[in-house]
């Protein structure tokens, strides 16, 4: 689907706005938008496997957490330059995706999801317990990152740059023959097999790509927040990212990013009034599933027919 000129213009305006944001917005908002971009990229990478690939990727945050920890550990424990630490994150995440993928791809649907949860929980518990190496349940704080990226502004621009590049690449992938094949597999794996598609192999590659970009967002989180903690690998965060995809719309490309903006903004607002954020999130989630199964963008598309794909 080709985005109509109108939506392209909106996108361009937003990009310009984002580029100039730190110059006039308070520091907190810059930080918040950085986080939105990070989680938006993470959610979009999840959606490659879930919305476009139809795979029940229930524990996507394992790759995110592993990417983040890789960067954190490399910076704090070795004398290697930070750039290598940044590059290592997506590579390690992709490697883990490969391993998980080979194990899980033999199964379908629910069993795929459950095996992934068990593998992910295993990784979580190792990170959680390995106090001497990973800092255990304290995590690692105050990670020293290069000067230019250390300030809120610096971190923001770096995040904006990397996220934009990654989103662009993901957009290309989704509209490529590979992306189209993946959607075919999602809609009808048997049919795909009989027209010659090696379904399992395509799914595996999709998982590796999704894991790769999850690793990137993990690395970005380290830059923005200078900390890592085991909860980044816990299933509840995977659930939150899933909710972002759901709320924004998981059949559209920008849905997850929108979902990230909605959830994080909501969390910021709600948290200033009350401590009961989980309650609000749970209610939002239940309402969205019951009444807006295709998310916000899905709803807009149905109503006004504009393809944001």
């Amino acid at each position: 689907m080709v985005a109509m000129k109108g939506s392209r213009r909106i996108l361009l305006a937003m990009m310009v706005g984002l580029a100039f944001l730190p110059l006039f917005a308070p520091r907190f908002y810059t930080y918040l938008i950085s986080l939105i971009l990070v989680y938006g990229l993470l959610a979009t990478s999840l959606n490659l496997a879930l919305g476009y690939g139809g795979m029940f990727q229930f524990h996507h945050c394992v790759f995110y957490g592993v990417g983040a920890y890789t960067t954190a550990l490399m910076i704090t424990k070795t004398k290697l330059p930070a750039v290598l630490a940044f590059l290592a994150a997506p590579v390690s995440a992709a490697l883990l995706s490969l391993i998980f993928g080979i194990i899980c791809v033999r199964l379908s649907k629910l069993y795929f999801g459950m095996l992934q949860i068990s593998l992910g929980s295993l990784v979580w518990v190792i990170v959680y317990r390995w106090y001497s190496f990973t800092g255990g349940d304290n995590g690692i704080h105050g990670i020293p990152i290069p000067e230019i990226l250390a300030s809120t502004k610096g971190a923001y621009y770096f995040t904006l740059l990397i996220t934009s590049i990654c989103m662009f690449i993901l957009y290309l992938i989704v509209n490529s023959p590979f992306g189209r094949t993946l959607q075919g597999i999602r809609d009808n794996p048997t049919r795909s097999e009989t027209i010659g598609v090696n379904v399992k192999l395509h799914q595996l590659v999709a998982l590796i790509i999704a894991g790769f970009f999850a690793g990137v967002s993990g690395m970005l989180f380290v830059v923005v927040d200078t900390a890592v903690f085991p909860d980044m690998l816990f299933w509840t965060l995977s659930l939150e990212v899933l909710i972002m995809c759901l709320v924004g719309g998981w059949f559209s490309f920008l849905g997850p990013m929108l979902g990230s903006a909605v959830i994080l903004t909501l969390r910021t607002i709600v948290s200033t009034y009350t401590v009961y954020w989980s309650l609000a999130l749970g209610i939002v989630m239940s309402l969205v599933i019951l009444f807006l199964p295709n998310g916000i963008l899905g709803f807009i598309e149905e109503r006004w027919g504009r393809a944001f794909k």
Partner: protein, 293 residues
């Protein structure tokens, strides 16, 4: 390390297995009969523990509080479960599994914060009743905490009652039939809706019972639902979806792996049960026993 310390550690592990089995069997029942992957089951467990705390506190920490809580807390949870089932869940049975999973996740978040609302965020302690404090001495050298011995007695009793309910009572048999073919059961004129409600309530009762029983052994706190529901699902998956005896097998594997793990690697022991789950699922992705899915 001598044999008796080893055995005592295993037995402590078995008592943990009892808790896991009780909670997981409830989950398995709901999963098998109602086909709902109920993530909120962990919340019911947590509510059971907090309810036990409140009841014990009401009786000023006296032993009688414990005994009342033993039935009171699970009943309270069962009541909440009943209301939830009638008000919400009974309209959701026909939905897709993925949707049900996500909806119950939402409920789990809601319940979690409701607990925070009612009981606050600090750790709570539930005292072990005086009659169970201290140790039991077996075979002259085996020291077993009395409360764990109590759990080891409760476990088989619950298992037997559950077996009786599922296999010997009319409702149990109907729910097993409804699990396989709801429409047929309805066609025969049975009000399946009430059967489902009762099954759900029993499942919640078990969750509450598990929470109540575990309360004196740990600090009751928020977040206990999240870890437990993950463990419970893993147990139910390796046992075979919907199979209550699978829940027993799974709980045994998980509980024993945990004890053995701690014995062999004191710091990392807790990793072993998760590794065991992964191993089982790699070779038997549908679980060890027959699943009803």
């Amino acid at each position: 390390m001598d044999l008796y310390a080893f055995i005592s550690q295993i037995v402590v592990g078995l008592s943990r297995t009892v808790i896991l089995f009780i909670v997981s069997s409830g989950l398995s029942l709901i999963l098998g009969v109602l086909r709902i992957p109920n993530v909120a089951h962990g919340s019911f467990y947590m509510i059971g523990a907090f309810a036990a705390y409140s009841i014990c506190k009401f009786f000023g920490g006296q032993d009688v509080g414990f005994w009342i809580a033993l039935f009171g807390a699970p009943l309270f949870v069962a009541l909440i479960g009943f209301v939830a089932e009638r008000a919400i869940f009974q309209f959701l049975y026909q939905r897709e599994h993925l949707m049900l999973l996500l909806i119950t996740c939402g409920f789990s978040l809601i319940f979690g914060d409701l607990v925070k609302l009612v009981w606050g965020g600090e750790y709570k302690t539930v005292p072990v009743p005086k009659v169970f404090q201290g140790y039991v001495l077996l075979f002259k050298h085996l020291h077993l905490p009395r409360y764990n011995a109590f759990l080891l007695v409760v476990g088989p009793i619950v298992a037997f009652l559950l077996w009786f309910f599922v296999n010997k009572t009319k409702i149990g048999k109907i729910s097993r039939a409804a699990a396989v073919d709801r429409e047929m059961v309805e066609a025969v004129g049975i009000n399946v809706s009430w059967v489902f409600a009762i099954t759900f309530v029993v499942g919640c009762f078990l969750a509450g019972l598990g929470g109540m029983l575990v309360a004196p052994t740990i600090s009751v706190s928020l977040g206990m639902d999240h870890t437990l529901i993950m463990e419970s699902f893993l147990i139910v998956i390796i046992g075979g979806l919907g199979n209550i005896w699978g829940a027993l097998v799974g709980a045994l594997i998980f509980g024993l792996a945990q004890s053995l793990g701690i014995l062999i690697f004191p710091k990392f022991g807790i990793v072993l049960p998760y590794a065991a789950v992964v191993l089982v699922l790699i070779f038997k992705p549908r679980g060890l026993l027959k699943s009803t899915w």
